[in-house]
Amino acid sequence: MTTGQPGKTVDDRWERLQDLFSRAVELPEHEREAFIGAETGDDKDLKNELLELLACDVGQSTGPLTHALGAAIDATTRDRRKALVGRVIGNYKLASILGHGGTGTVYLGERADRQYSAQVAVKIVDNAPIHGDLGLRFRAERQILASLNHANIARLLDAGETKDGQPYLVMEYVHGEPVDRYCDRQQLDLHARLKLFLEICNAVQYAHQNLIVHRDLKPANILVTAEGSPKLLDFGIAKLLDTGDAAAMLALTRMNDRLLTPEYASPEQILGRQVTTASDVYALGVVLYELLTGLRPYTVPSSASQLELERSICISDPQRPSTAVKKAMEAAEAAEGESAIAAIALARGLQPDRLQKRLLGDIDAIVMRALRKEPQHRYGSVEQLAADVRRYLSAEPVVARQGNWLYYSQRFVRRHAFGVSAGAFLIVVIVVFAVAMSIQNQRIAAERDRAANESKSAQAVSEFMLDVFSAAEPFKAQGKEITARQLLEQSGMQVRADKGMRPEVRARLLASIGRAFRRSGDPERSLSYLEDAVHLRRQMPNSGGLPAAEDMSELAITLRALGDMNGSARVINEALALCDRIGGQRTPTYATLLTNRGRVEFASGDVSRSRQSFEHALALNRQVRGPNDQEVAVVLLDLSLVFMWMDDIPSVERVTRQAVDIFRLTANDLHPDRVLAETRLGEALLMQNHINEAGVMFESTLEKQRILFGNNSRQVAEVLDSLSQIRRAQGQLAESEQFAAEALSSAVNALGAEHAYTPYFRTAYASVLMRRAKYTEAERELRHSLDTLAKTRPADHQYVCSAEHLLGEVLLETNRLADAEGTLTAAMNRWKRTDAPAWRAARSASALGEVFYKQGRMREAEQYLTRAYTELAADDSADRDVRIKARQRVEHFYIANGQREKLNDLMLATSGAAPAKTPQARSN
């Protein structure tokens, strides 16, 4: 820094300039010149400079510089977006940019063949490869839009991907202007504005009946055509509802919050709570407010940050429309000059005071009811809002004016308690969406005359969920924070108590709750709900059809999560048989069942069968769900586990990379499966001894895993286990032990000490302990592993083999040779009965040879040691450390017996068999 350095005249002068300038700006403007004159004396240059500077002073405001910067930023980015103009997408040539939505850029498209002059709006997701999650949203939007068919909602015409893989939508081009501008330009009076508003409500209500929430209603998304008919645009955020996937939902919600226009966002949206049809009621309230008053319900100084606006939306009560107009009138009087409110009133064919009087009373009440902070205190539906507007128009008493006093007196009490944990809502949101989606799907499939009936049951479900939500109100919970599980439990009790509920609806709700319990990490609770759902389904016609198979699939997953492999297999086979019977073999459900069958088979140690199941599921998924569907990636990951067990690591890497590619296209950074895929790729790298690369990968995924699953989770346990292996390979045994210990404790806490999977971590820990010569502890852990495995796994499971082999090594190291012989012989024979590669049995054989050597049984020792080493040396996939150990044993044996020639012969023979690249392949 240069201040304070003496002797620099430039600095001195600047300091003086600074001093005088700062003092001058504190003075009233008319005193400044005199002040400067007095202070500068003879220094004319300084005086002039100061006067010029004062003339350029813009005070505290950032003013013209910020504006210039904004324009520069705008110009910089604008040109980059123009690149697509002139290109042909689908059958349309992009003529110009229409605008930018939250998800992408919208272009005006014209028929490329010019056979007839059709104009369309083409929406292209910007930068899809970077924002995988946007791509996902986009696909969801496509489906939602296609299912909406209403005169006041912009139609979807086509959809696809550009050559660069950017998804695009072709939509009806709406030539119109935003509703607020349209009303002002047409000088519509209040009556006409309300009529138009009712049409808008109609369209929103239609979407709600299809269980689609717009989430981003605002004048810019409501265009009015030249014929005066409103069109709703940009269901960009509404498409959220199209996914039942919890993690995707979380990520999307977060993203949406960022894309949201705060002026029209409801408090629950700003707070990241669950968004329902009530959020649209709120946004419609803001739109109505603006159409009628020309003002926004929340006015903050233009210098205020978005945060302040959001705070005021969440905390303060908005001004009533009539009050806002009155205040604007007062402000206009004070300011004299031309008044904005006069222009606003004029556009409505009124004087400001007339406008204020017209708004007073009914309209105030209607708007304020729609704008209430708490969703359940607004109008129950858009239809109710519209009904009240109609009542006003026909001069009937409006509902909104009833009960306001009570509302506002209670609000004061509740204001500070407006907090239920966001987590609780999210879980329930999963239930709601799962339910909503299953009903929606059925709606599409159902015949027309059944639609009315279905809509009734959809409404029943919504009402039920609304009950659950309102039960979550803090004051009802006596100040205690309600957890997600309590909320689910409550829903469950309500479903079970409600005798009048249709079995169809009941089964769906039970299954959804059961699934939500499992996803929240509580498979025990999940079980009874899913069993009940399946039980109900079985009694329905056609044994419940495909929905029954779906619920069975969920039940099977829960059973597997609980470690009941036989039960899980039984349920899956029942579901598959059901599908076969009703011709449901080419369905996503069937593919999911196959995947889960593969998982059960794999968990039971039947690796080759599970591979078949997964490959079948993979092919079917690609066919019925599409090649880049996330389910495809998920099965690829399962398959990678199979390859992992077959020690076919290049295949692991191959399928895992395919999975990672799909996830990078379709999921965000923290998508659990994506993180899993990346982790597994790390594993494949690790297995191929790209240690350092793998280490970096795991270190970064560890944090993501901790965020996603918590410290005590199987996922975190697995990453820790990998890191333990990496540290071991890097020679950092102390750290390796630490990671292994943490992995085990994480697994024990997550799964239970006696869970079928826990022995894996226990055995891994024991193997590190052995490396550090902590044989007593290692033995204790290995025996514990074998005990658990005896209860939970088939006798010839690979976990058993591993633990048994290691125990044999411990016995060998601690010179209990007879026990070692027995244990290692068992392990060797057991390995031979599994699908595992031959070198694993050879490893046991090598250890056994060492036992014989120590026992002085030289002939047997030589036979076992040389055979084992020959086999290991020839097998490229064999573990390097194992090979080295076997080699050392042979060397030791021959040297101790003075048979160096035999050793040389053996090495010569095996060096031919072993691939030449062996040394550098291990150089990592």
Partner: protein
């Protein structure tokens, strides 16, 4: 700060490689929201762009010597991106190869307010800043950090180890100084932001 900047100038090129696309990315995001803004007078701030880029880098686990270093590099980079672009547009216009007209934008989304004769170009700011740097390099750096790096007065005060009041005083003068460089002949009316 000077030390930090020279550390950058001496070639933390890898850091720059990582930073540039992120700033571009945020520029795009922010500009999109900027275009959508519906409250008059709201201006797109470099603040947000650079801060978002910072957050992303933190998420990516890129290590920086410290925050101050990051913002120094980011501000310089932001300035360069904007100035380079302005220059290339200028060249394009002279060469007659303009890529499109402003009319490509619907008035709904592009409402920058009236383009008055008083509007300033980023090139002018850049030149004025260079001249300021000749007079008072420390102040020029402060302005760069504030306008291009998006540091608030409070952050400037922490980074430069001076009081907030000093920052406020000095930036106010710097603003006037720069505006005077750009249009010495004009009497500026204070403009609300």
């Amino acid at each position: 700060m000077t030390r930090l900047l020279s550390a950058w100038q001496s070639g933390d090129t890898r850091a720059l490689e990582r930073l540039t696309p992120l700033i571009y990315e945020e520029l795009r995001n922010r500009a999109r929201r900027y275009m959508k803004r519906e409250r008059p007078g709201h201006t797109l701030q470099a603040t947000a762009v650079v801060h978002e880029a910072f957050v992303k880098l933190v998420e990516m686990n890129v290590s920086w010597q410290d925050r101050a270093h990051f913002f120094a590099v980011a501000a310089r980079q932001m300035r360069r991106i904007l100035v380079d672009h302005a220059k290339s547009r200028f060249r394009d216009k002279r060469g007659g190869t303009t890529t499109g007209s402003l009319n490509d934008f619907d008035m709904d989304v592009l409402d920058l307010g009236p383009a008055t004769a008083g509007d300033i170009d980023v090139l002018e700011i850049d030149e004025a800043l260079q001249r300021l740097s000749g007079n008072n390099p420390r102040l020029a750096e402060m302005v760069e950090l504030h306008y291009f790096g998006g540091l608030t007065y409070q952050e400037l005060s922490e980074t430069l180890k001076v009081s907030e009041a000093t920052v406020d005083r000095e930036i106010r003068l710097a603003k006037a100084w720069i505006l005077r460089q750009i249009r010495p002949q004009r009497n500026r009316e204070p403009e609300a932001s």
